[in-house]
């Protein structure tokens, strides 16, 4: 006799599959954002499951800052071919060349804020009416109130005061011409859920997440990897350390942490014992107390 009980990971998976199928059914032309980070990998894995044995009914879109870790791109291409998805790439460099954005200057320059313009341009070029993102509500306080189906006006802006109520599992994706939606199937997942799910599902993830030797330097308390895209300042000294990444974003602003964890079990144990939120290693979130909220209003994910 079954107890008709499913555990937390199965509940989260079931909810995400439900949301992904709603997106396919309610929108004409959805697209799934894919960065090569663990959240978007889990999300694409869930999409593979939601429509199995058919192919994904939407393409994956990578907004490429050009400031990637090389491992991310290798991984991306392999993963996409394995799940049989279609990949669309939008380059921040193109936005710069076309004069849509101006590259930040100075030693702390980052292309993180430029991504928003490239993303909005790519959504318009592809005439996508909904973009599925891997955002989670536990990541940051401005995201705690984000909806599964998040309405954006004709300018791609998020208005936290004008969001549609979401009750039960009923999602309202109706919109006027020119408006679009951001959809977050992983809303209810925590960082721990993501890691546990990766382990349970035996999902391969980029090697950057596991402990390795890397040349890094310290910048305002964060370990930044040495690459062609960062400029060392006078007081910054390079050293080789045993590190891994908790999140994988733009190489110029994603910090590494010292770690010996080279298996998923060790990473899970490390996350459980962590003293810092994962976004604590993201330089971009620390610029002001409300920096995530400010960026979201402009259309950042």
């Amino acid at each position: 006799m079954s107890s008709y009980r499913i555990n937390h990971l199965d509940q989260l998976e079931s909810e995400a599959l439900f949301v992904l199928r709603e997106v396919a059914a309610q929108f004409d032309n959805p697209v799934m954002l894919f960065s090569g980070g663990k959240d978007s990998i889990v999300m694409a894995h869930l999409a593979f499951k939601a429509f199995h044995p058919a192919r994904l009914p939407f393409p994956l879109l990578h907004v490429d800052t050009g400031h990637n870790f090389s491992e991310t791109i290798e991984y991306r291409d392999q993963f996409v071919s394995e799940i049989g998805a279609r990949l669309v790439i939008a380059l921040v460099q193109d936005s710069i060349d076309r004069g849509r954005v101006v590259e930040e200057d100075g030693p702390l320059a980052s292309r993180n804020s430029l991504q928003t313009v490239t993303l909005l341009d790519a959504l318009e070029d592809g005439q996508y009416d909904s973009a599925i993102g891997g955002g989670r509500r536990d990541e940051e306080k401005a995201r705690a109130k984000e909806r599964f189906f998040s309405h954006r006006d004709g300018f791609g802006q998020w208005d936290p005061k004008n969001q549609r109520p979401e009750l039960w599992n009923i999602f309202n994706g109706r919109k006027n011409h020119g408006e679009h939606f951001r959809v977050f199937p992983l809303s209810n997942w925590t960082e721990m859920d993501i890691w546990q799910y990766i382990r349970r599902e035996k999902i391969e993830i980029p090697s950057l997440y596991f402990s390795h030797d890397r040349e890094v330097f310290e910048r305002s308390g964060t370990l930044i990897a040495v690459s062609d895209h960062v400029h060392l300042q006078e007081n910054e000294h390079v050293k080789t350390m045993r590190v891994r990444f908790r999140t994988i974003g733009d190489a110029t602003c994603t910090g590494a942490i010292e770690s010996e964890s080279d298996t998923l079990d060790q990473i899970i144990a490390e996350v459980a014992a962590a003293h810092q939120t994962e976004r604590g290693t993201r330089e971009d979130d620390r610029r002001t107390e409300t920096s995530m909220e400010d960026r979201k209003k402009e259309g950042y994910f």
């Binding site: 555990n7 058919a54 009750l167 599992n169 810092q276 107390e289």
Partner: protein
């Protein structure tokens, strides 16, 4: 290959409990959540540091735990919570999702939203004030949304000298007014002090006369296994999976999430609204076939016969069909600044179906502070709750909300603005 849903893998196999908290600025709700997160060690150092800095800037003496949960800029500036914020924490026993909502009457719609997905509600009572209008409102909303488990947390016990008499008086008062609220089948009373941490995570030394559970212990152990309806089988079709590939040439899977009951291969089923019957050939997931599927599992059902089925249809078991009607009566909560129009047209979204509907009558409104019916006032606006009659353009298949939250709930959408204007619970 068969997938076993009851597999055990220690920490990968935890329960999930969703609960809601309602409270206003001064009854210590944010402090309670902050305390719960802090004492169960679900707060990170950088979060604590940020809160300590903000507390200092605001001139607070101690670390203001409430700041851990107040999200948006406007809210932090005004010191109020204006939306539903979702928070997450876990203990070795369970994972929790908190729907944190404001408590004032002008935020009734937010409370209703937060309550719609909750298994349990925490109702906060200020020990100095006892049962007030707001307590009644919160209990009424929990009952309306059919939250079966309630914890009445009697807070600020430190300000009444941890008095047992004060506690007992509030318990009795709550019991007497809530006797009419039939859906609240499991109510637990806990005396706490969120500010000092008494009986939140750790047992209070100041309240030695109380032998019941702490708040966290109750959250970790309350039995929620029977919250879904496992009798009446319901499967709203979301999407039809047709691969059109050589390998899966004839595959036709009806994808959805079980909304009630249990489905097994070989079961006789009926498809609504067409009424055609067939047998379940298999239940498909990407991990293999299932021997049974129950709420809230997402899967795809394959039938033995080729029947024309599309999104919005519902697969049910023939022996236990849902209600079928074009005229429904429902409790509505209004969400929009624009008042409800009697005879007005709306879009009604129910399970995976969207259909046109007209509100034909408002039978009564409820004064949610006194719980009295108001019958002579047909104006129905933001945050109001009442009973309405609705006619749909074609029949819908439903259960009463008290029977099944999934097939008994709907929302109304304004056709012009696309705004979600009301939530409905079918009687």
């Amino acid at each position: 290959m068969e997938k076993d849903l009851s597999q055990k893998d220690n920490y990968l196999d935890m329960d999930l409990l969703r609960f809601t908290t309602a409270g206003s600025v001064d009854d210590g709700k944010s402090t309670l959540i902050g305390r719960l997160l802090y004492d169960s060690k679900n707060i990170f150092e950088d979060q604590i540091k940020a809160v300590e800095e903000s507390s200092r800037r605001r001139g607070d003496d101690n670390m203001n735990l409430a700041l851990l949960t107040d999200g948006l800029k406007a809210e932090r500036e005004q010191g109020i919570t204006i939306d539903v914020a979702y928070r997450y924490f876990a203990t070795p026993k369970r994972k929790f999702i908190i729907a944190d909502t404001p408590g004032h009457i002008q935020y009734t719609r937010n409370m209703v939203t937060g309550a719609s997905t909750a298994n349990l509600a925490i109702i906060l009572v200020d020990a100095r004030k006892g049962i007030v209008e707001q307590t009644c409102r919160h209990a009424f909303i929990a009952n309306l949304l059919r939250i079966q488990h309630v914890i009445v947390a009697i807070n600020k016990m430190d300000l009444v000298d941890f008095s047992e008499d004060a506690y007992e008086e509030i318990v009795e008062e709550f019991k007497s007014f809530s006797s009419r609220l039939d859906n609240l089948i499991d109510v637990t009373f806990i005396p706490i002090s969120a500010l000092h941490g008494d009986n939140v995570v750790d047992k209070s030394e100041n309240i030695d006369w109380y032998s019941g559970p702490t708040l966290l212990y109750q959250l970790e152990t309350v039995y929620i296994g029977s919250d879904h309806n496992h009798v009446k089988a319901r499967f709203p079709v979301q999407w039809v999976i047709r691969p059109h590939s050589d390998e899966h040439h004839d595959f036709r899977g009806y994808a959805g999430r079980v909304a009630g009951g249990v489905f097994k291969p070989g079961d006789e089923v009926q498809v609504l609204p067409s009424g055609f019957t067939s047998k379940i050939d298999s239940i498909h997931t990407a991990d293999g076939k299932l021997s049974e599927a129950f709420a809230p599992v997402s899967c795809s059902i394959l039938l033995e016969d080729e029947i024309d089925i599309s999104r919005g249809d519902m697969i049910v078991k023939s022996n236990n069909p849902p209600e079928r009607s074009q005229d429904i009566e429902a409790m509505l909560c209004w969400f929009s600044d624009k008042k409800m129009m009697i005879r007005g047209k709306y879009v009604l979204r129910h399970t995976s179906k969207e259909i046109k509907a007209i509100v034909t009558d408002l039978q009564y409104k409820i004064n949610i502070n006194t719980l009295r019916k108001v019958e002579d006032d047909k104006e129905f606006g933001l945050n109001e709750i009442g009973r309405a009659c609705i006619r749909t353009s074609s029949p819908i298949f439903y259960d009463s909300y008290n029977d099944n939250r999934n097939t008994g709930s709907f929302v109304l959408i304004d056709e012009q603005t696309n705004e979600t204007v009301a939530a409905g619970m079918i009687s």
